[in-house]
Symmetry: C2
Subunit: 518 residues, 2 copies
């Protein structure tokens, strides 16, 4: 979303030395870059100094420099001939707890070369962050977790490079965005204090690190930027998301929400940023229902219910026979059930309306979404009253978090005009459905801007926009983290949000309208 | 000569984290150091981050930090418990073409732990800089020269540490001063362009380098400061010498001279510095005479000649039987011959006065300094008219260089009030003798301040005075190098200086007085 301000690659022409101007080679190069970069805080690696005299003379003092930046200096990490320079690539990494996505970038053109992802190999030893940190405390556990992710990355780097017809040695810059625990495990930093009161990471703003020191098989001179975090619960992936959204540059107040098991929210503009994170519960991602599954072929991702006939119109990913339901499908389902009157404002299944969609299983009421004869599993795909209750608690938690953070700056969720939805899951949600159940505020639909994998996009931006470390730090430093206290205010708001769409229906005029028209 | 301003070791107490103050460990440490150092440009190595959480908690948030500094940041290179911290040492190196001297320093106390020297092992392949650079261009020659000096240093480091009861791992900071060619060979940088027009070094201001990257067997986190040079012919050893002398801080104009085969001269004060270097010839170091030798036991280092009887009173180093004559002895000898009338103002032996001290060898006039029956060699120790001529050319060159550099700022050598004499050889010269032959200007004797090994002393200062890199760079950046053009002016001055003490005897009133009183 931000323009590529400036490339990390700069070609400079040096004035060749004379008896009257006999500055050393390195100081001559730094002098030329100083004019370009408007600073003399420029560092050259010793390895580069070793090549410099021969290269300068061979290339007739025209040099293509690959730059990077730490917090206090520009770094020259490679030099090449100015005419027809060899390929120079950057690697952006979204270091997810569950899935890791890599993007290879042509640093000269600022364009994408290849992209691929893999399941985080740490899943094999521990499914979530909490379990991983506990595993890290077992003998060799910590080393194991670090090795798993580094080995996984190296394997993926090799594949990605092969795909793009490059050598891993052509990667000169790496940018990594992940949550605080994941970046700690990636850097080989002990995560144990992240989950223990008072929740202290080893580092908030890691300095630029040699990629080789991290164990990455890329060019030995390559540097890695690991996105900074605000604390244990607000990680670099979100900082990357803000960077990509451009929220921190806007004059008006906007919001960015990463919807998931954990809801992470940032409200702000170019002057201030407030962030908070809270558990919304796995129900939003379809994690609770027996029929819940990841977004994959065969997952129900869209549902429409005819308000008159109550016939279900089911869409699945890649139009495969339905196997289960994914997050966006669950939200669609809840919205359609509500709009068609099959559940009431408390989320309770209305037997009279549901009619033969209802079925008792082990004495509990279930709604059949896909009958056995139409499902890929050969069994009914159903959702229980308990599942719906859980979903409502999750959507209520989400809305309460939005209300709490906006009210902390004297606003209501409905006052916002720009609403960024981050994360892959977020991108698939139909905002109309999320509004219908009162999970997201009743804003005009064009207020909602899905960002896709904003963590990866932000990490990529750091590779195509030279000098953006300062911007990243400014985002981090300006972000005030709001501790969500589950106090009486919060509980009152939560209770009010446990209705569909909300106790205060005036907040959701479009939903009222749709219900009336159904 | 400068006071130890500030130690590289700083002990800080951190406020332990709470829920209200949950900054990360690293950022907390940097915060505490920021208050102390008045800057937030502070870098922590990844290796150190790895130890940090455990150490902070074990040490109850009281930490002894070993700092160093590159051009843009303070670096934390080690942490230790604040109570009874382990020894932390620094290594200062005078990287001479002929001899290398090492000093081990206790960084906490700022005191000397041990010192030792070794002949530069590169002597085995090439005696001087020019020969070494040519050798560097032979196959593997460059690598060989680099290995020779690094291996030599590592061997000496081990011995030095054993002597001081330390492990080499206890060395956390290294400071190296040498001429431009030597520091290039030490860093593994190609020196070939140093000796070729327009005489370009690879680097003038090398950044701080990890000692391990240089191949030094010290602590893996240790950093090395290599003193910057002004160009190919004005090296870091002289910058170190200026630093140690304090010349660059003085309100009055002072001079620093490193007397040797090459005379290196700096004139200046706290506002400006002018430097030049020129060949004075090996005669000053006793290198030409057949009886010349290094300052070692048995070397004649002091001579007095009775003006009436012309009896020679000889002093040798360690009072051993005389084997030869060293630099300071040669200058004493020339001064005494002149003052006693045995040579005339042109430096010619006066046969009538020399009488039976004279002897023809191969048809050439020689003066017997030590007869065969008193010498350790069993032969006469003699000096020839040609040797004396050579010495006079050298002393004339030295004075001409002094006159040229002072006149460039509108002064005469006699106008200076402070005269630093650098180098081991310089320390042994009797200024009265150097004045008598017109090699040094006729200043009050207390104007002359011998500095000893000022290169080593300056390198040591960088280890005991935190923050002095800025001062070193200021010296370097402010130094204007004056190219000595051997033009008509220079030749006129040189011709005038080829007399004893000088054509213009009014410049040397004390010498006239001594001659009259002889």
């Amino acid at each position: 979303m931000n323009p590529t301000d400036r490339s990390w690659i700069q070609t400079v022409s040096l004035v060749p030395p004379t008896l009257q101007d006999n500055t050393a080679d390195a100081d001559r190069l730094i002098g030329a870059l100083k004019d370009r970069l408007q600073t003399d805080a420029i560092h050259l690696d010793l390895d580069l100094l070793k090549q410099l005299p021969e290269c300068l003379r061979k290339w007739k003092y025209r040099v293509c420099c690959l730059l990077f930046q730490d917090r206090h200096r520009w770094l020259v990490t490679a030099i090449a001939r100015a005419d027809d320079p060899p390929p120079m690539a950057g690697l952006a990494v979204d270091l997810g707890t569950t899935r890791v996505v890599l993007r290879l970038i042509d640093l000269a053109a600022g364009s994408r070369l290849a992209e691929s992802g893999f399941d985080n190999p740490q899943l094999a030893v521990a499914p979530d962050i909490l379990a991983r940190i506990h595993f890290a405390e077992s003998p060799d556990g910590f080393t194991r977790l670090n090795e798993l992710i580094i080995t996984g990355l190296n394997r993926s780097i090799e594949k990605l490079c092969r795909q793009a017809g490059l050598e891993p040695r052509s990667i000169y810059a790496v940018s990594v965005a992940g949550n605080t625990a994941m970046t700690h495990l990636f850097m080989g930093l002990d995560p144990r204090w992240i989950i223990r009161e008072p929740y202290i990471p080893v580092v908030n703003k890691p300095d630029i690190i040699k990629a080789s020191q991290l164990g990455l098989d890329v060019n030995p001179s390559a540097r890695a930027l690991v996105f900074p975090n605000v604390g244990s619960y607000f990680g670099g992936d979100l900082i990357a998301g803000i960077l990509y959204s451009g929220l921190h540059r806007r004059p008006d107040v906007a919001i960015l929400v990463d919807v998931g098991t954990n809801a992470e929210v940032i409200v702000g503009n170019r002057d201030w940023l407030i962030a908070c994170a809270g558990a919304a519960g796995p129900a939003l991602e379809g994690g609770v229902t027996a029929m819940g599954m990841m977004a994959a072929p065969g997952a129900v991702d869209r549902i429409a219910i005819d308000p008159k006939t109550h016939v279900f119109e089911i869409h699945t990913i890649e139009d495969q026979p339905p196997q289960g339901i994914c997050g966006s499908g669950v939200i669609d389902l809840a919205a359609q059930l509500f709009l068609s009157g099959m559940i009431d404002i408390r989320g309770k299944l209305v037997a009279a309306v549901c009619a033969d969609h209802l079925k008792k299983i082990d004495g509990l009421a279930h709604l059949v979404v896909v009958p056995a004869d139409q499902s890929a599993t050969g069994s009914d795909l159903t959702i229980s009253q308990a599942d719906i209750d859980s979903l409502i608690r999750s959507k209520a938690a989400m809305y309460t978090i939005l209300e709490t953070i906006t009210s902390s700056v004297g606003l209501q969720p409905e006052d916002l005009t720009t609403f960024y939805v981050a994360g892959t899951f977020g991108s698939f949600i139909d905002p109309r459905s999320a509004i219908a159940i009162g999970m997201l505020p009743d804003l005009p639909l064009d207020s909602y801007t899905p960002l896709g994998n904003s963590s990866l996009a932000g990490a990529s931006l750091a590779l195509t926009s030279a000098g953006c470390l300062e911007e990243i730090d400014r985002i981090r430093d300006r972000t005030t983290y709001l501790e969500l206290n589950v106090n009486q205010d919060f509980m009152n708001r939560f209770s009010a949000a446990k209705f569909l769409p909300h106790t205060d229906t005036a907040r959701f005029p479009s939903v009222e309208k749709r219900r009336r028209s159904s």
